[in-house]
C-alpha cells in the first residue's frame, strides 16, 4: 500500500515523486518505458529565461524566470548557464525589440539591449547581419540528468520506481480510484498496486491514461522536430527577436547544439512513432542558418521529434485557445472521480512548479500538512556549483573522462569506480565515458538496455552514434544481466534506434559514418 502512485516517468512524474517523497509520502512511480522518453527528452533542453513568452504569455514568462533561478540553485549539474541572445535580423521589425524588452522587464526577466558588434564578440557564430541584440538569462538544461536526479532523490527517500511497466487498468471502488493494474513489458509479469491518490503525469499519453480511468482530459498532440548538430557551433542560446515561430532557437547542449522546432498537430495514434519529414529538415536548416550561418555547412548528427502535451481549455473543446500553461486537474471536483489527479501542460522548465502543484493537491487529499521544499534542497549531484570543482576535489589530475563524468553526474560522480583498466577503459570515445561510469549507471540508475544507458551517460550520443561504444557497453550489460542473447537483441535494437535518427539527414559524413557502422556490425561482428 502506497500513499500515492504516480504514472509517468517524465520530468513531471519524477519531479512529483520527489516532492511527494520529500513531504514524507510513500510513493510509487510507474513508467511504461524508460525515464524521459516522451516530451521530456525530446525538446531543445532550453533553460528558458521566459523571454520567449514575455510578449504573448506573461504568466508563462514569470513562471519561467522564477523556475530558471530556482533550477540554477537546485540542479547545478544539469544546467549550463550560457545566457542567450535575442537577435533582430534585417528582415525583422526592430520596433519589436522595444516591446520585447519592456515585456521582459515587466515579467522580471533581465533583458539588456546590447550593441550588435558586442553580440558578435560574445557569440562569434551569430549571423553577422544582425541589426539588434538583447541579452537574457537563457541557458541549457539536460533533461535526462534532471529527470534521473529527481528520481534518484525520490528513491533515496524511500520511493519505489517500476520502469518498463505499463498501466493496463484502474481498480475502482464506486466513484473512487484505489489502485492500478500493471504489466511489465519486459517480463510480462502483471501486478496490482494500491494508493488513495493516483497522479496521472503521462504527458501526451496522459490522455489515454485518463480515458482508461473514465475521464476526458482533452489533449492536443503538437509535434515538434529538431536537428542535432555534431558539435557546439554556439556557446550562447540564440533566438529570434520576433513573435515565436518555427526553427528560431539554437541551443548549445553538452557537446552538441540543437535547432528547433516545428509545430504541427498530429493524430494520437502517431504519438508513439513520430518521424521527421524532409520538409521539416529543410525548414530547420534554412531557418537555423539565419541564426548561425555556419549551420548550413555543419555536420548534422540526428533528427528527432517530440510531442508537446498541450491541453485545450475545459470550455473550449475546439482547441482553438490552447494554453501552454500548467494544467492541474482534480478529477473529483471536475468529473466526480475521487483519488485521481492529472498534472499536464506546462514545460520542462516549469516541471518543479507543476510537481509542487500536484503534490499540494495530493497532500490536501491525504490531509498531510507538509510544505514544499523542492525550491531549496539541491538535487543529488548538485551540491556543488561547478563540475570543475567536483573533479578537482576528487582527483588530483582528473583525466578527460573523469572531467566529463563530473560534468554529467555532478557530485554523484564520487560513486564512480576508477583505477585500473577495467574501470578506466574508455567505452564511448566521442563523449568520454569510462567503463566505471557505465558500471555506476548499471548499478545505481535502473538501466535495463543500451538506450537506458544512453540517457544516463551519453554513450552513443556523440559523432559516431554508437559505432564503437555500443558493442563495448553491450558487453558490460551482458555481464551485469548475465544474458548474452538478450544483449544481442538489445544491441541491434539500439543500432536501429540510432539509425532512425540518422535517416532523415542521411547524407555526407553522417551517411559515411552510418555506412561504416554497418560494415563494422554486419560484416565484422555478424550482427
Amino acid at each position: 500500500m502506497f500513499d500515492v502512485i504516480i504514472i509517468g516517468g517524465g520530468i513531471t512524474g519524477a519531479g512529483t515523486q520527489r516532492d511527494c517523497a520529500m513531504r514524507g509520502l510513500k510513493t510509487l512511480l510507474i513508467e511504461r518505458s524508460d525515464i524521459a522518453t516522451g516530451a521530456t527528452g525530446r525538446n531543445h533542453g532550453l533553460l528558458h529565461s521566459g523571454a520567449r513568452y514575455a510578449v504573448g504569455d506573461a504568466e508563462s514568462a514569470e513562471e519561467c524566470i522564477r523556475e530558471n533561478m530556482i533550477l540554477r540553485k537546485i540542479a547545478a549539474h544539469c544546467i549550463d548557464e550560457t545566457d542567450g541572445l535575442f537577435i533582430t535580423l534585417p528582415e525583422d521589425d526592430l520596433a519589436y525589440q522595444k516591446t520585447f524588452v519592456e515585456s521582459c522587464r515587466k515579467a522580471g526577466i533581465s533583458a539588456e539591449i546590447i550593441d550588435p558588434e558586442l553580440a558578435k564578440r560574445l557569440e562569434p557564430s551569430v549571423n553577422p547581419e544582425l541589426i539588434g541584440a538583447v541579452r537574457v538569462p537563457d541557458g541549457s538544461v539536460d533533461p535526462f540528468r534532471l529527470c534521473a536526479a529527481n528520481m534518484l532523490d525520490a528513491k533515496m527517500r524511500g520511493g519505489q520506481v517500476r520502469l518498463h511497466t505499463e498501466v493496463t487498468g484502474f481498480i475502482k471502488e464506486g466513484d473512487t480510484v484505489v489502485g492500478v493494474r500493471t504489466r511489465n513489458l519486459q517480463t510480462g509479469e502483471t501486478a496490482e498496486y494500491f494508493a488513495p491518490v493516483i497522479v496521472n503525469a503521462g504527458g501526451i499519453w496522459g490522455h489515454g491514461i485518463a480515458e482508461l480511468a473514465g475521464v476526458n482530459v482533452g489533449m492536443f498532440p503538437a509535434k515538434g522536430a529538431l536537428l542535432v548538430f555534431a558539435h557546439r557551433v554556439n556557446n550562447m542560446v540564440i533566438n529570434r527577436c520576433r513573435k515565436p515561430s518555427n526553427a528560431d532557437i539554437l541551443v548549445p547542449g553538452d557537446t552538441v547544439c540543437i535547432i528547433g522546432t516545428t509545430s504541427d498537430r498530429i493524430p494520437f495514434e502517431d504519438c508513439d512513432n513520430v518521424a521527421v519529414t524532409p520538409e521539416e529538415v529543410n525548414l530547420l536548416i534554412t531557418e537555423g542558418s539565419k541564426l548561425a550561418p555556419s549551420l548550413s555547412s555543419t555536420r548534422i548528427l540526428r533528427a528527432y521529434a517530440g510531442v508537446r502535451p498541450l491541453v485545450s481549455a475545459d470550455n473550449d473543446p475546439s482547441g482553438r485557445n490552447i494554453s501552454r500553461g500548467i494544467v492541474c486537474l482534480d478529477h473529483e471536483v471536475r468529473d466526480g472521480l475521487k483519488g485521481f489527479v492529472t498534472i499536464t501542460g506546462g514545460k520542462l522548465m516549469t516541471y518543479r512548479l507543476m510537481a509542487e502543484m500536484a503534490t499540494d493537491m495530493v497532500c490536501k487529499k491525504l490531509g498531510v500538512n507538509e510544505v514544499c521544499k523542492t525550491a531549496e534542497v539541491p538535487l543529488p549531484g548538485s551540491e556543488e556549483k561547478s563540475y570543475e570543482d567536483v573533479a578537482k576535489k576528487i582527483w588530483e589530475n582528473p583525466t578527460t573522462a573523469q572531467k566529463a563524468a563530473a560534468s554529467r553526474h555532478g557530485t554523484a560522480v564520487a560513486a564512480m569506480p576508477t583505477g585500473g583498466r577495467r574501470n578506466d577503459a574508455l567505452i564511448c570515445e566521442c563523449e568520454e565515458v569510462s567503463a566505471g561510469e557505465i558500471k555506476k549507471a548499471i548499478e545505481h540508475m535502473d538501466v535495463s538496455s543500451l538506450t537506458d544507458l544512453r540517457r544516463r551517460t551519453r554513450i552513443g550520443m556523440g559523432t559516431c552514434q554508437g559505432e564503437f561504444c555500443a558493442c563495448r557497453a553491450a558487453g558490460l550489460l551482458a555481464k551485469a544481466h548475465g544474458c548474452i542473447e538478450r544483449e544481442r537483441k538489445d544491441l541491434s535494437d539500439f543500432l536501429q534506434e540510432r539509425w532512425k535518427g540518422n535517416y532523415p539527414i542521411g547524407w555526407g559524413d553522417t551517411l559515411r559514418e552510418a555506412e561504416y557502422t554497418q560494415w563494422v556490425y554486419k560484416h565484422v561482428l555478424g550482427i
Binding site: T298, I300, C430
Partner: protein, 404 residues
C-alpha cells in the same frame, strides 16, 4: 530542398569517421600510455574543448607533431594540427627555461658561433651532459650538434658575385642548422645547383622557421618570426620571381603548412614556390638537365623518409635522385618515425619513449648495414647517428659527393 552540399569544420575535424587508423599509426601511443592518442586528442577532444576549455588535457604535450596521423587519415582530418592548435590555445603554462633554450635555435646559434671551439669542446664533455641532465632535464645521452665557427650566410655572401653570374637563380632558406652547425650542407647544395647552371641567393634576412617555438609553447614569438619570414619570402618569390628552396623537410613543412594552419598566417600566394631542393632538382632533371657523376662512385645507401617528408609527400624525390646516381646500392627503409621529433627527444622525460619509437628503424639500419644512411632531416640525423653509429647524410650532400 536545401540539403547541405558539403560540411565544413576547422581542420576537418567533423570529417572524422572514428575509424581509428590514426591511432594505429601513432608512434607515441605505442610507447607512452599517458598519451591519449591522435583520435582522442584531436577530433574527439575538440568537441569537448569547444564545450569548455576545462576539458583540455595537458597530456597533449606528448604529441610529437610527426603528422603520421594525418598521412594515415582517409578522411583528410588534420589531426596533428588540431592537437597543436589546441595546445596553442589552451596550454597557458609558461615554457621552462630548457624549452625556451631548445626552441631558440636562432639565438643560441648566434651566441655560440663566435665561441664555437670552446662551446663544442664543452657540450661534448660528459660532465656538461650530466650537468644539463640534472639541471635542465636535457637527457644526458644527447649531444648537441657542434657549432660552426663560420656561418653559412657569411660564406654565401662572400660568393654572392659568382652566384649572381649564373643565368638561372633560386633563393635558399638554409635554416638554423645549415647556418650555425653545418654550413657544408648549404655548400653542397650550391655545388649541385651550380652544376645545373643555377645560382643561389640568400633571402633578405631569414629567421628560424620557428617550428621549435610552436611545439614548445611559444607561439607568440613564432608568429612574429613567421610574419617576418613571410615578408622576406614574398620579396624573393613575388618581387624577384624566384623559387625558394630548402634542405630540411621540417623547415619546408613549417613554411608551407604550419604558418597558415597553426599560426593563422596566410601564405597562399607564396606557398607553391617554397620547395625542398630535391624536388626542384628532380624536376630539372626530368626537364632535360643533366648531372655528371663520378664513374667510379660506389655507395650502399639506406634512405629514411623523415615524417614531415612523408606528410609533404616528397620522399619520392629524394629516392629517385639517389637511385639515379650510378654505383648506388639503394634501400628504402620502412616507414617509421625515428623518435626524435626535433627538440622532443632531447627532453629527459621523453628520452626513453623516443628511443623505443626509433627502435625498429635502428634495427633495420643495422640489418641493412649501409655505408651511409640518407635522410632529409637534421634531427633524424642526430638521432640515427647517436642510436646506431651509422653516418647520416642529406641526399643533397650525397649528390654533391657523387658529382664528377
Amino acid at each position: 530542398m536545401n540539403l547541405q552540399e558539403f560540411t565544413q569544420s576547422k581542420y576537418n575535424f567533423e570529417e572524422c569517421m572514428k575509424c581509428t587508423v590514426c591511432t594505429a599509426y601513432c608512434p607515441v601511443l605505442q610507447v607512452n600510455p599517458l598519451y591519449p592518442g591522435p583520435k582522442q586528442a584531436g577530433p574527439d577532444g575538440e568537441r569537448l574543448r569547444l564545450k569548455d576549455p576545462f576539458f583540455f588535457n595537458y597530456a597533449l604535450k606528448y604529441c610529437m607533431n610527426c603528422k603520421r596521423c594525418e598521412v594515415a587519415c582517409p578522411s583528410g582530418v588534420k589531426v596533428a594540427d588540431l592537437i597543436q592548435a589546441a595546445r596553442i590555445k589552451h596550454d597557458h603554462s609558461k615554457p621552462k627555461l630548457r624549452d625556451r633554450m631548445l626552441a631558440s635555435t636562432d639565438t643560441m646559434g648566434s651566441l655560440a658561433r663566435p665561441l664555437a671551439p670552446v662551446v663544442n669542446a664543452t657540450i661534448g664533455l660528459g660532465v656538461t651532459k650530466s650537468l644539463l641532465d640534472a639541471t635542465l632535464k636535457i637527457d644526458k645521452h644527447r649531444t648537441f650538434p657542434k657549432y660552426s665557427g663560420r656561418s653559412f650566410e657569411g660564406w654565401l655572401k662572400r660568393h654572392a658575385k659568382a652566384q649572381a653570374a649564373f643565368p638561372e637563380q633560386v633563393a635558399y632558406f638554409h635554416g638554423c642548422y645549415v647556418n650555425y652547425n653545418y654550413p657544408q650542407l648549404g655548400k653542397d647544395l650550391v655545388k649541385v645547383l651550380n652544376a645545373l647552371g643555377v645560382g643561389v641567393q640568400l633571402l633578405e634576412k631569414e629567421k628560424c622557421c620557428s617550428i621549435a617555438l610552436i611545439t614548445n609553447g611559444m607561439s607568440g614569438k613564432a608568429t612574429k618570426q613567421a610574419t617576418h619570414n613571410v615578408g622576406v619570402l614574398r620579396k624573393a618569390i613575388i618581387d624577384k620571381g624566384l623559387k625558394v628552396l630548402t634542405t630540411s623537410s621540417t623547415c619546408s613543412l613549417t613554411l608551407r603548412d604550419e604558418y597558415p594552419g597553426l599560426l593563422g598566417i596566410d601564405n597562399s600566394d607564396i606557398r607553391g614556390a617554397i620547395q625542398i631542393a630535391v624536388r626542384y632538382i628532380y624536376e630539372k632533371l626530368e626537364g632535360g638537365a643533366k648531372l655528371e657523376f663520378k664513374p667510379d662512385y660506389h655507395k650502399k645507401i639506406a634512405y629514411h623518409v623523415p615524417c614531415h617528408m612523408e606528410r609533404l609527400g616528397w620522399g619520392v624525390f629524394s629516392e629517385k635522385l639517389l637511385r639515379s646516381i650510378p654505383g648506388v646500392e639503394f634501400t628504402l627503409l620502412d616507414s617509421n618515425c625515428c623518435g626524435i621529433a626535433g627538440t622532443y627527444g632531447f627532453k629527459k622525460e621523453n628520452y626513453e619513449a623516443s628511443q623505443k619509437i626509433g627502435e625498429p628503424l635502428f634495427n633495420q639500419i643495422r640489418e641493412v648495414n649501409p655505408d651511409v644512411v640518407a635522410c632529409d632531416c637534421e634531427t633524424c640525423k642526430w638521432q640515427i647517428e647517436m642510436s646506431t653509429g651509422y653516418k647520416v647524410m642529406n641526399p643533397i650532400s650525397i649528390l654533391a659527393e657523387a658529382l664528377a
